[in-house]
């Protein structure tokens, strides 16, 4: 069994308007030292998944089913208290906007020390030393001084470094980064991505990077999982996704990805329409109302939910189009367009 394994995970929220199926039957696995990128639009269920792994939906209104195995332990059925003990220690998370994700009333040091001392029975002094070390390690200059600063006294990039330091303070084996660079400007983004890559190597942790930005996962990930409407629509290695993407949605994502190797004047190709409702999921393939190739499925897309099937070597796709047709479309219609445009 892999270090982290999700089996048919479902996270549903009952609301006044109906049941919101944020995550609907998600499965994947991840080994130590590997990086998985989860990509999707808002509301595709990627963040809900990450919070689900950390057990942060427990005790709330969410209905969770399926299995989450972490290092041989099942987490869905485990007690809240037990999962709490794992949070921060065995699995940690880096959040998107460090300004709002850090408590404004406590110093950065205090927040790291708190995280460290929850899981390690050490004196405040030792914990403080550790916090300074961690801040130094994530590249914050003058950590002895900065440890007593408040989050609002940091720049955006420094804050994200501090956030990473906090997440890594207990040496976690699973690290989830939720849009780690979205709130940062481009140059800082690159630095943070470099830092994360370095640190992952040092800590030998399993890393999940959640983003809507394929560019980020391109830099970091070994494997990529594309989510749409709470489901995985395509899964494969980084190479699979970038070189041989087979799902129309993935094509759309690639089309709307700004790339450094393109001319700045080039037009991006956005996906038409807006993300699906998670309550009244479109019949059949959830993507069909936005899919440019829907008519080539002979109506199946409207009525039949496609299955996630392997095309080759672990590359999974959820689409009614035949494999040949997908390849043909990619090679003849999409790829040239992406390169030419």
């Amino acid at each position: 069994m892999s270090f982290l394994e999700l089996k048919d995970l479902r996270i549903h929220f009952p609301t006044d308007d109906g049941l919101v199926k944020s995550v609907d039957g998600l499965s994947f696995s991840l080994e130590r030292g590997r990086t998985l990128g989860i990509v999707g639009e808002s509301g595709s269920g990627k963040s809900v998944t990450s919070l689900g792994i950390l057990g942060l939906h427990k005790g709330g209104r969410a209905r969770i089913s399926g299995e989450i195995w972490l290092d041989g332990e099942e987490l869905v059925g485990a007690s809240q208290e037990h999962v709490r003990g794992l949070r921060g220690k065995k699995m940690a998370m880096i959040f998107q906007d460090p300004l709002s994700a850090m408590h404004p009333f406590y110093t950065v040091g205090e927040q790291i020390i708190e995280a460290y001392r929850i899981h390690n029975d050490v004196s405040k002094k030792v914990a403080r030393k550790h916090a300074v070390d961690m801040l130094g390690r994530v590249g914050i200059p003058q950590p002895e001084r900065r440890v007593d600063s408040y989050p609002h006294e940091f720049s955006g990039g420094m804050r994200q470094r501090a956030m990473i330091a906090m997440a890594l303070s207990c040496d976690p084996e699973l690290l989830i980064a939720d849009e780690p660079t979205t709130a940062l400007d481009v140059t800082v983004q690159a630095q943070i991505l470099d830092l994360m890559r370095d640190l992952q190597r040092d800590f030998n942790a399993a890393l999940i990077v959640i983003t809507h930005d394929l560019g980020v996962v391109a830099e970091l990930s070994d494997d990529i999982l594309v989510m749409y409407g709470g489901k995985c629509v395509e899964y494969g290695t980084s190479e699979d996704i970038f070189e041989r993407p087979e799902h129309p949605y993935t094509w759309g994502l690639l089309g709307s990805m700004p790339r450094l190797d393109r001319e700045p004047t080039e037009r991006l190709l956005p996906i038409k329409g807006s993300p699906p409702s998670l309550i009244n999921v479109p019949s059949g393939c959830a993507f069909h109302p936005r899919c440019a190739f829907e008519e080539r499925t002979a109506g199946r897309a409207k009525t039949e939910v496609p299955e996630l099937l392997e095309t080759e070597g672990g590359h999974l796709v959820r689409c009614h189009l035949t494999r040949e047709r997908r390849r043909a479309i990619w090679e003849n219609e999409i790829k040239p367009n992406l390169e030419a445009s």
């Binding site: 919070l51 950390l54 942060l56 005790g59 709490r84 003990g85 794992l86 949070r87 921060g88 220690k89 940690a92 998370m93 959040f95 998107q96 906007d97 709002s100 994700a101 850090m102 408590h103 404004p104 009333f105 708190e114 995280a115 929850i118 899981h119 408040y150 609002h152 906090m166």
Partner: protein, 339 residues
């Protein structure tokens, strides 16, 4: 920080001056608009049987014929430097802060006010302790169990609480717990025992007004706290705290409550400041001899020096409370810079 405090103190003085000018102006002008003359005002000082001539002399002596500005100047000078007052057998110096002498009792206002202050202080602070504890606790619990039976019940009661006029709850509480002999658990006010004299009697006399007043405020605070907690508990930093593996209790108390309580601090400061200037309705419902009752009595008797005195003291508390709140805010929230 120090310059900020000094600046704020100066502004506080300016504000009190403005308040005193407006108050003086209104109480000077309105009776005159109502047809009062300086003689009829002076008549209040010389008794029912004075002759027209005596009244005229008194009006002159009291300076009621001087322009408004001169009269105000005299009043302001009294507060700052004291004033001399002819009380019959001799002239007496009324030391600063001199708010003048009551029309009716002919006693200086300031000692009177200082006499009433402990009552209002006891009432306000006692009630504040109750309402903060009860209101915040209820609000937090409600927020944490949002939608639960407890939440619905508590918020229902709280909404009822803010919708009930205190003079109604006050009377009902008096009738049930004080007048009604079977449940008589407390005195109906009117009597006040200073804390240092007999703490038990002090509490006994105040328990009913405390609870009634606290109920009203606790209701509001429960609603505020709940709203604040709901908002705070949705903050990203709460999720971060949870992700760190903190116990839910610690998340709520150390991270949630800390954030939610900060805005409540402001409101608390203002409420307490307003109350210290006289819980008018509570004091008159329970006949507590505090500042509010003093104000009402002074107003009913149109005893201008008393009204001026109590208005200014009340304004002082509001201004002072504002200052304290702003300073405290800077202590509580590191993002706030004074300056």
């Amino acid at each position: 920080m120090v310059t900020y405090i000094i600046r704020r103190l100066i502004w506080a003085v300016v504000m009190l001056t403005i308040v005193s000018i407006i108050t003086f102006g209104i109480f000077f002008l309105v009776p005159r608009l109502a047809g009062a003359t300086s003689e009829s005002l002076a008549a209040r000082y010389v008794g029912r049987t004075a002759s027209a001539e005596q009244v005229k002399i008194a009006a002159d002596k009291l300076g009621f014929n001087d322009p408004l500005i001169v009269q105000y100047g005299r009043f302001a000078k009294g507060i700052v430097a004291g004033a001399d007052y002819d009380y019959g057998p001799g002239v007496e110096h009324c030391p600063a802060p001199c708010f003048g002498y009551s029309f009716l009792t002919r006693l200086p206002v300031w000692p009177d006010l200082m006499d009433r202050l402990p009552v209002t202080l006891s009432l306000a602070i006692g009630a504040a302790v109750i309402w903060v504890i009860a209101g915040v606790a209820t609000g937090v619990l409600s927020a944490l169990r949002r939608g639960s039976l407890f939440d619905r019940a508590a918020m229902g009661v709280a909404l009822a609480g803010v919708s009930l006029p205190i003079f109604f709850t006050g009377i009902v509480s008096l009738v049930v717990f004080s007048y009604g002999t079977p449940f008589r658990i407390t005195a109906p006010g009117g009597s006040f025992t200073p804390f240092d004299e007999n703490p038990a009697m002090w509490a006994y006399n105040l328990i009913l007004p405390w609870i009634t007043l606290a109920f009203l405020y606790a209701a509001g605070y429960a609603r505020l706290t709940r709203a604040g907690m709901l908002e705070t508990m949705n903050e990203d930093y709460i999720r971060t705290a949870r992700a760190k593996g903190l116990s839910e209790r610690r998340v709520v108390v150390k991270h949630g409550l800390r954030g939610a309580l900060t805005p409540i601090l402001t409101i608390f400061g203002l409420d307490l400041g307003l109350l210290l200037g006289g819980a008018v309705l509570t004091e008159s419902t329970y006949s507590l001899p505090g500042m509010g009752k003093y104000a009402i009595d002074a107003i009913t008797n149109q005893d201008l020096p008393k009204v001026m005195g109590v208005t200014l003291v009340a304004a002082f508390f509001v201004v002072f409370a504002n200052l304290i709140v702003d300073l405290l805010y800077a202590v509580v929230d590191p993002r706030v810079r004074l300056g």
